[in-house]
């Protein structure tokens, strides 16, 4: 049972993407991705293909949430920044 699947590749673990999410954005989503990556591997080599595929989908979900949250936060930040800059500029003009 143990080595039944060792000549095949497990489903995508999203490990690389999860580590990137941990480093560049959102720790909780990255960690959730990494834990699911571990589940993909352990279930696959224990013969639980279906469970491994489920964990793979979970890992994909959390990394994608992490990615889009970072994009949204980034956009909100840029919008606030421009709003702030524009306010500062207009106040400056009023003052001069």
């Amino acid at each position: 049972m143990e080595n039944q699947n060792s000549n095949q590749r497990p489903p995508k673990t999203w490990l690389v993407e999860s580590i990137l999410v941990t480093l560049f954005c959102c720790l909780p989503f990255g960690i959730a991705g990494i834990i699911n990556a571990a589940k993909v591997e352990s279930r696959f080599y224990a013969g639980d293909i279906e469970g491994a595929q489920r964990a793979s989908r979970e890992a994909a979900k959390w990394t994608k949430i992490g990615f889009w949250v970072s994009v949204v936060l980034f956009v909100i930040y840029i919008v606030l920044l421009f709003a702030g800059v524009l306010t500062a500029v207009s106040l400056d003009e009023l003052g001069s």
Partner: protein, 140 residues
């Protein structure tokens, strides 16, 4: 050309354009000297550093080929790069043979992943306590 193909070109064009712009911004501007870079939400909320703190500064130094300064900002990011590239290559390989699969399992299997998780958590704790300040961003 089909609509799907046009869509694909547009999508990858946008990704490529966006990445080029980001590389340009992070190479030219140092996040320490310019306040238009986003701040880490975790640090803003709690005052503690997370494992990703210093990443923007580290990327700036890496893009200017200054590995030592990059390591001072976030050593985990710098050391993870070869591992991430290897992982990416393993993911891309079509029809890997048994030898490759064996190495894949050694480097990216359950034990390896749990080891990485442990490193991330230790790094997180360590960079917030005085004895490990050498790993904290902005400290030598």
């Amino acid at each position: 050309m089909s609509l799907a193909a046009k869509h694909k070109i547009l999508k990858w064009g946008a990704v490529f354009g966006g990445l080029t712009l980001l590389v340009f911004i992070y190479k030219v501007y140092n996040p320490v000297e310019n306040n238009f870079f986003p701040k880490c939400p975790f640090r803003e909320l709690t005052g503690y550093k997370c494992p990703g703190c210093g990443s923007q500064r580290a990327v700036h130094h890496l893009l200017n080929f200054d590995i030592r300064d990059a390591m001072r900002e976030n050593i985990m990011l710098v050391l993870s790069i070869p591992y991430l590239i290897t992982g990416f290559i393993f993911d891309m390989l079509k029809n890997p043979g048994p030898k490759i699969l064996l190495w894949r399992r050694r480097l990216f299997g359950t034990k390896a992943i749990l080891f990485i998780l442990a490193i991330i958590i230790l790094f997180w704790i360590c960079r917030n306590i005085p004895y490990c300040l050498s790993l904290a961003p902005g400290f030598n």
